[in-house]
């Protein structure tokens, strides 16, 4: 048993940390304030190969493992949570299903530019009336010659406004239920594809969240990902991997909030001594640090299982559930350490709290994670 990082993993972490600290962190407040997609920072991440970390080099990626992916996602998210989710979606939700289920032609056309960061990708599963209950897809795909005509709306699509391609799910054969769902790679410039609305959000304001409409969108056979009926399986296995990324994002946000609060507690005095000397503050810091470490270990375990080709759905659900709820607690306590200053925008504490909140919701709410975990626990019996 060995909890250490390999030399390669440690090098990646250190180089991403250094880049993120210098080239992303200083802009995080402005990115949040402007609510604009951080192209400069995304381009730097692309140059470093962070948009396809676990994608083989042959397909434009960095050819590293999922532990490395988690490390990079933590570092980027510590600097800027918006950049963290942009990176995570390109890696896990757009790139990974194409790597796993795509044909060589699809990989050539989409995976390469996604992994290199030349284009952004998106993942279209949620709908206005279909969130956690993803099997109840209302978007339809009707056979039309050798292709399909797709109609419907996708909701809360990260990178939706920038994406050049979306991995979208639609009901092809409603009488087959879950097994009637298909997955498609739909180019954003297809006629009938439109970005209907960009959401204004509580946090991760630099990342776009859009509603995408498909109005008589006609796609050919080359757009189908996997086989007809594979859609739901593709959606779920993709989310398993995505959860590692979001857990790492939650972890990065929490770590940053913790470190800032700790440093503040050493400088700020009350009742004649630094507040770090008060047990009320010490104990918060101790709990924050402990829970951060616990989350990181759960994340590494899930990533490692994925790297070893073992089943990791339950481990990823545990990592996501724990890390996201931990992140909400930690960012909340970090803000508390700052007192009134924490509530004001002069300090990043309030942004961390807002940014962390989404991690309990997207890529499977905490409630969905608990359903997944409980199913596994009961099956062990």
């Amino acid at each position: 048993m060995e909890f250490n990082l390999s030399e390669e993993q440690a090098m990646l972490r250190d180089s991403v940390r250094a880049m993120a600290k210098q080239e992303i962190l200083p802009f995080a407040a402005a990115i949040d304030e402007a609510g604009a997609f951080p192209w400069d920072q995304v381009n730097r991440m692309s140059e470093l190969g962070l948009m396809g970390i676990a994608v083989p080099e042959k397909w434009g990626g960095s050819g590293m493992d999922n532990v490395s992916y988690a490390l990079a996602a933590e570092e980027v998210s510590a600097a800027c949570a918006s950049c963290g989710v942009i990176m995570s979606v390109n890696n896990s939700l757009a790139g990974d299903p194409i790597r796993r289920f795509g044909t060589d032609e699809q990989k050539e056309r989409w995976l390469k530019p996604l992994a290199r960061g030349e284009i952004m990708g998106a993942y279209g599963l949620s709908e206005p009336g279909t969130g956690s209950d993803a099997a109840a897809q209302k978007t339809t795909a009707v056979r039309d010659g050798d292709g399909w005509v797709i109609n419907g709306a996708k909701n809360f699509i990260t990178n939706g406004a920038e994406a050049k391609v979306i991995v979208a799910f639609a009901m092809g054969e409603p009488d087959k239920g879950v097994k009637g769902i298909n997955a498609y790679l739909i180019p954003a410039d297809t006629a009938g594809y439109s970005v209907a609305k960009n959401e204004d959000k509580l946090g991760i304001k630099g990342s776009s969240t859009s509603q995408i409409h498909f109005d008589e969108v006609r796609v050919g056979p080359e757009a189908l990902l996997g086989n007809p009926g594979d859609g739901f399986k593709i959606a779920m296995t993709t989310l398993d991997g995505g959860r590692i990324g979001i857990a790492a994002q939650a972890l990065g946000i929490a770590r940053q909030a913790f470190e800032e609060a700790r440093d503040y507690s050493l400088e700020r005095s009350s009742f004649g001594r630094p507040i770090s000397k008060h047990q009320a503050i010490q104990f918060k810091l101790a709990d924050m640090a402990t829970e951060i470490d616990a989350a990181r270990l759960l994340i590494w375990r899930a990533a490692l299982l994925k790297d070893q080709g073992e089943s990791y759905g339950q481990a990823a659900a545990m990592a996501k559930l724990y890390a996201s709820e931990m992140s909400q607690r930690v960012t909340n306590q970090a803000l508390q350490v700052y007192g009134g200053y924490g509530y004001c925008k002069d300090y990043p504490a309030e942004r961390h709290l807002r940014d962390a909140r989404i991690t309990e919701i997207y890529e499977g709410t905490s409630e969905i994670q608990r359903i997944v975990i409980a199913r596994g626990v009961l099956a062990d019996s």
Partner: protein, 382 residues
């Protein structure tokens, strides 16, 4: 990174699991009722190598490392938490003698600890007025020719009336942590008397006693480590001990988890089994997730210890997290059992009672947080 078990570790876990299931769990209730663990059970632990998991073979240990120790202790605790604490303290005493003792001290005591010839070892640090604040202890040791004379009172000493050897901390110098030294005292030393075992909320088969030292004379050769080194020895031993208590807590909670899962699959209310209700599912999900996180923290601390690295902070994190997660889990387990959880017919009530002390002994949760808080502030650039 490699989170898998080695073949040896897997074998140890499986054999300990079998032993715990067949030899410990079925008699845990009886042991508790009788307030007693038989010496034969201790010897069985010895035969399996469980009393010196991380001690050298030359001294009768199994020499399997700190990770194996955590694995084995968790399995034993699933069967009987009282046996587990006896095992934990005996391993801790063996390790502290191995780490700080002279070859004579090692040869004199460790083989008797690891074989189970001794009922176990005891660790006498706490006093009536010195618990978390161990550095303020009042027991004294006065030099008298070639011996030391110990006077004072110790409290909450696990196995204190049964152990073959007791590690005793006493003040030999200035006030505060630097004036403390450590001694190995035989259980039959004249002047040493043990009080009646305390009546406790849990761990009822394990004895917890007060020890009274009235002019207890021990030879100079019984000092463990150097004069004034006692506090350092205690802290080092407790760092390792915390890994054990984390594993114990997780074992207790693991047993509760297994029982509650089976119960949820069988028990019917409103026309369906409990596992069909999200209220119950979500409790199980939280319990499993937190116990897994606690286990990873415990293994990380053990793995660092095994590779000879610093592990104080990590052991403190493991202990506070694992014991608190385990206590939440056993509380929820009682809740899922409902009224049946509150009666002693099912073991879950015992698990709940047994688990509570893990947040108190070998450093309370509050002491762990002080350790962690101090450490994380050191990381800062300030």
């Amino acid at each position: 990174m490699n989170l898998g078990l080695s073949e040896t570790q897997t074998i140890l876990r499986e054999s300990t699991r079998r032993f715990s299931k067949e030899r410990l769990a079925p008699f845990a209730h009886a042991r508790e009722q009788n307030h007693c663990i038989s010496h034969a059970t201790i010897k069985e632990l010895g035969d399996l190598g469980l009393l010196g998991v991380n001690l050298p073979e030359a001294l009768g240990g199994a020499e399997l490392g700190a990770v194996s120790y955590a694995l084995a202790l968790r399995e034993v605790a699933k069967g009987d938490a009282s046996v587990a604490v006896t095992m934990a303290v005996t391993n801790m005493v063996g390790e502290v003698i191995q780490h700080f003792g002279t070859p004579e001290q090692q040869k004199g005591h460790i083989p008797k600890l690891t074989s189970g010839e001794y009922f176990g070892g005891a660790f006498a640090l706490s006093e009536p007025s010195a618990g978390s604040d161990a550095g303020s202890l009042k027991t004294t040791a006065r030099r008298d020719g070639d011996s030391w004379v110990i006077n004072g009172e110790k409290l909450w000493i696990t196995t204190g009336d049964q152990a073959g050897v007791i590690v005793v901390w006493a003040r030999t110098g200035e006030p505060g942590p630097r004036g403390i030294s450590c001694f190995l005292v035989s259980c039959d030393a004249p002047g040493l008397t043990a009080g009646k075992p305390e009546e406790k909320m849990g761990l009822r088969a394990s004895h917890t006693v007060a020890l009274s030292f009235v002019d207890v004379r021990v030879p100079s050769s019984s000092m463990l480590g150097k004069e004034g080194e006692g506090f350092k020895i205690a802290m080092r031993a407790l760092d390792g001990g915390r890994i054990g208590i984390s594993a114990q807590a997780l074992g207790i909670a693991g047993a509760a988890m297994d029982e509650v899962r089976s119960y949820a699959l069988e028990r019917k209310q409103f026309g369906k089994t409990l596992d069909q209700f999200q209220a119950i599912q979500f409790k199980l999900a939280d319990m499993a997730t937190e116990l897994e996180a606690g286990w990873l923290l415990t293994l990380r601390a053990a793995s660092l210890k095994e590779s000879g690295k610093q592990f104080s902070r990590e052991a403190a994190m493991a202990k506070v997290f694992a014991t608190e997660a385990a206590n939440r889990a056993v509380r929820e387990a009682v809740q899922i059992f409902g009224g049946y959880g509150y009666i002693e017919e099912f073991p879950v009530a015992r698990h709940y009672r047994d688990c509570r002390v893990t947040q108190i002994y070998e450093g309370t949760s509050e002491v762990q947080r002080i350790v962690i808080g101090r450490e994380v502030c050191k990381d800062s650039g300030f």
